[in-house]
């Protein structure tokens, strides 16, 4: 009982120390990590827990981001947390609206349907430039401070403040999803992945569970999008709805470890690290990430998170062999 508490306290202490140890540059990098990790974990609910590969998760991210941008632009004086939550709810609502269509399909058809919806939203947002600003997007709104009247007021343009805001929301979101996977609905979700037909015998639960997952996953993807909007002070179709926005978390999941809960967080971190390293050779950056991507699928299908386990297994085997040899001699 005590150990997890110590771990948690330790992790929180490290997270709290980061902005003071590192400069604003790396603090901002951590904000991006928080956003991308939250987004990747939300997609992972579909991929690793329900076995559904989505090529259109940017849809929810984009709705969250545009929601936040529109609310903050047009409803001045609205508390920032309310704005962010409303945007996430909008994304969840999109999940709900689309779920009657999405629950019907599986496998590649699901992937293609999500692709279609994602691209449709991309095209629509580019077209309705009166509302969305087209490719230029929406920018330059005044982000209200994170405040409790009379208690505190934090200016979110300061790296330290936006850091705590983003990391706090991401941690809460990731924790919420972690608990969700432990609920009975979470187990139904896993059995859908393993054998949809068998779960079908349980009646309409499959449909209902899937719909709930779409909303839930959409909510947190939307939350990530809303935090993105607040952090960047700009939302544009290329940044939040482009197909590469859908691929980014997929890569994070794959590199970190598909089928695990924490893999995507590790993967997001590794991808950002890779981006930092390859920044010195920008012409080769995408090439390097593509190659790493292929190598991971081929040689490390469990992702980086499985690397430790593999190493340990290899070490044990070596130790065992050595012992066997010694006893022989």
């Amino acid at each position: 009982m005590k150990r997890p508490v110590v771990w948690l306290a330790g992790a929180l202490a490290v997270l709290a120390a980061i902005p003071f140890v590192f400069g604003p540059l790396h603090t901002n990098l951590m904000v991006r990590l928080a956003i991308e990790a939250l987004f990747a974990v939300s997609l992972n609910l579909l991929l690793s827990y329900t076995g559904l590969l989505s090529f259109g998760h940017a849809l929810y991210f984009g709705v969250g981001a545009y929601g936040a941008a529109l609310i903050l632009t047009h409803l001045q004086g609205i508390p920032i947390l309310v704005a962010v939550l409303l945007s996430a709810l909008a994304a969840a609502l999109v999940g709900l609206v689309l779920s009657p269509l999405l629950v019907r399909v599986r496998a590649t058809a699901f992937t293609m349907l999500t692709l279609a919806f994602g691209q449709l939203m991309f095209v629509l947002c580019s077209k309705f430039r009166e509302v969305t600003g087209g490719e230029d997007g929406i920018m330059g709104w005044t982000t209200p401070p994170l405040a409790l009247p009379g208690l505190f007021s934090l200016d979110l343009r300061q790296p330290v403040n936006i850091y705590f805001f983003a990391v706090g929301l991401a941690c809460l979101g990731i924790l919420a999803m972690w608990f969700f996977t432990k609920t009975p609905m979470g187990s139904v979700m896993i059995s859908i992945r393993d054998n949809q037909k068998r779960v079908d015998y349980l009646g309409y639960q499959v449909v209902l569970t899937k719909a709930v997952i779409f909303c839930f996953s959409g909510f947190f993807a939307g939350l990530a999008g809303a935090v993105y909007a607040v952090f960047n002070n700009l939302v544009s179709v290329g940044g939040v709805l482009h197909i590469m926005v859908s691929f980014q978390p997929l890569m994070a999941i794959l590199v970190g470890g598909i089928g695990t809960f924490f893999g995507p967080i590790l993967g997001s971190g590794l991808l950002l690290l890779l981006e930092e390293v390859t920044q010195a050779y920008p012409e080769l950056a995408l090439m390097i990430s593509g190659v790493i991507f292929i190598l991971v699928v081929m040689f490390l299908p469990g992702g980086a998170i499985s690397f430790g386990a593999r190493l340990r297994a290899w070490w044990r085997k070596r130790a065992y062999l050595r012992k066997a040899r010694e006893s022989e001699a």
């Binding site: 400069g23 604003p24 540059l25 901002n28 990098l29 991006r32 580019s126 077209k127 430039r129 600003g133 087209g134 490719e135 230029d136 997007g137 920018m139 330059g140 343009r157 993105y228 960047n232 002070n233 700009l234 544009s236 290329g238 940044g239 482009h242 590469m244 981006e275 920044q279 920008p282 012409e283 080769l284 950056a285 995408l286």
Partner: protein, 446 residues
């Protein structure tokens, strides 16, 4: 209308006067106010952008913000070719005098990847980690807007040579740290319209890319026609997706419309595809635009196919010009990926990019400092002689350039390219007809 124009013009003149007055102090301190002297370009033998090395020691650092990876990597390449050219030239001359000593120029890449989040990250890295003196870039108004916001935040000079949006320097978006060297969509529309006022064509078909820039450009052209060619007719207007494959359905409409001229803001590959496919379909209508100097695309349609194209630019460098020949001679030694026809001559884009950097460094030297505030003081209202001896004025109140613009018709044969038609007589459109009026909402413009 005329009253308004006159007021604006007086405004411009007054501002220039004010700027000059403000600018003379530090300029005199650093010597005489200078302009660009093409013959002063250093001996560039052996120059190669691919082999550019940053000088060591105390340097002036320029952060180059451009897409160096991804779909638009060719844009990054052009930034790098021109940036390293200017830096090498200045370095071979010994650098610029800043803080009382000669300092050389270093360039540091900041890859925007064409994405907002990466742009923001790249700017922060350049400002906080590399501690650059100037941010330079970029293509795409949404990315430029991010750089402007960050430049304002970190109080860094920002030179915009790539984004043509009219609204970047207006309203809340304005920041004193950004200078928009490149012309704006308003000027593009006005330039071409003014040019057509003296010509026969009256039926225009607008075919643009379906995104903010394409729509803005269409509006600016229509506005220009309304002003300068009231009897012109828009016989059709279509917006096609970016990176469109098949232009045939559009061209069938164009042909049926009876248009005499196609106006397009398309850039490569769309501009080349539009041209190529129309010629293949036997539609030899001339096309007017600002990205038609893609030499590969022109060669593909040949001398006949490229004849009659109308090309507008803020900078058309005459082939006889000194800097043109220096560039051309140096080009022969460049290695891949710069050993292509695109870089053979200093084109309108490469030329404008280089010009903007020369001006910036000149202002810096006259300010005697790389400090943003001091450079701003010199640059605001600065009058300067450009690459081809033209007069440039940095309008103090909105940091946009007041300058003449140029239009040319492609003819064949020409002396410089035998495989396609290319620019001939250059028509100058005086600044007074094409300059974007000063923003009314800015308190700086009184």
């Amino acid at each position: 209308m005329r009253v308004l124009q006159r007021t604006i013009w007086w405004g411009v003149a007054a501002t220039v006067l004010l700027g000059v007055t403000l600018g003379t102090g530090p300029a005199q301190a650093a010597g005489a106010a200078r302009g660009f002297n093409a013959s002063a370009v250093a001996d560039m033998t052996g120059f190669d952008p691919a082999k550019f090395e940053n000088p060591s020691g105390d340097v002036v650092k320029i952060g180059v913000l451009a897409p160096f990876s991804g779909d638009a990597a060719s844009v990054g390449q052009i930034y790098w070719a021109t940036g390293t050219w200017v830096a090498s030239d200045i370095n071979r001359r010994g650098g610029i005098t800043v803080d009382g000593k000669k300092k050389k120029i270093a360039l540091i890449k900041g890859d925007t990847m064409g994405k907002p989040a990466n742009t923001k990250q790249a700017v922060e890295k350049l400002c906080l980690q590399d501690k650059v003196d100037v941010l330079w870039g970029t293509a795409g108004s949404h990315l430029t807007a991010i750089i402007q916001a960050e430049a304002d935040k970190y109080k860094k000079l920002h030179l915009n040579s790539g984004s043509l949006s009219d609204t970047l320097m207006e309203g809340k978006a304005f920041t004193p740290y950004t200078f928009q060297h490149i012309w704006t969509t308003h000027s593009v529309g006005a330039t071409l319209a003014k040019f057509f006022a003296t010509r026969q064509e009256r039926k225009f078909y607008i075919l643009n890319q379906d995104y903010v820039f394409g729509h803005e450009l269409a509006e600016s052209f229509k506005a220009g026609l309304k002003k300068y060619v009231p009897d012109a007719q828009i016989v059709g207007e279509d917006f096609h997706p970016l990176f469109n494959k098949d232009f045939a359905p559009y061209l069938t409409k164009v042909k049926a419309s009876g248009a005499e001229m196609i106006f397009t803001g398309d850039w490569i590959p769309d501009s080349s595809n539009l041209l190529k496919q129309s010629r293949q379909m036997g539609i030899n209508l001339p096309v007017a635009g600002i990205f038609l100097d893609d030499i590969n695309g022109l060669i593909a349609v040949g001398p006949e196919g490229s004849k009659g194209l109308v090309f507008a630019s803020e900078l058309l460098i005459n082939f006889q010009d000194g800097i043109q020949h220096k560039w051309h001679e140096a080009w022969k030694t460049w290695a891949a990926p710069y050993n292509t026809p695109l870089y053979e001559w200093l084109g309108s884009t490469t030329g404008a990019y280089a010009e903007s950097l020369y001006w910036l460094l000149d202002a810096m030297e006259r300010a005697g400092s790389a400090d943003a505030e001091k450079v701003i003081k010199v640059w605001e209202g600065d009058e300067w002689t450009g690459l081809i001896g033209q007069k440039l004025t940095m309008r103090a109140c909105d940091h946009r350039v007041v300058r003449d613009t140029y239009v040319t018709e492609f003819v064949s044969p020409n002396k410089w390219y035998k495989d396609c038609a290319f620019m001939d007589k250059i028509t100058t459109i005086p600044a007074e007809f094409v300059t974007l009026p000063q923003p009314k909402d800015s308190s700086r413009c009184k």
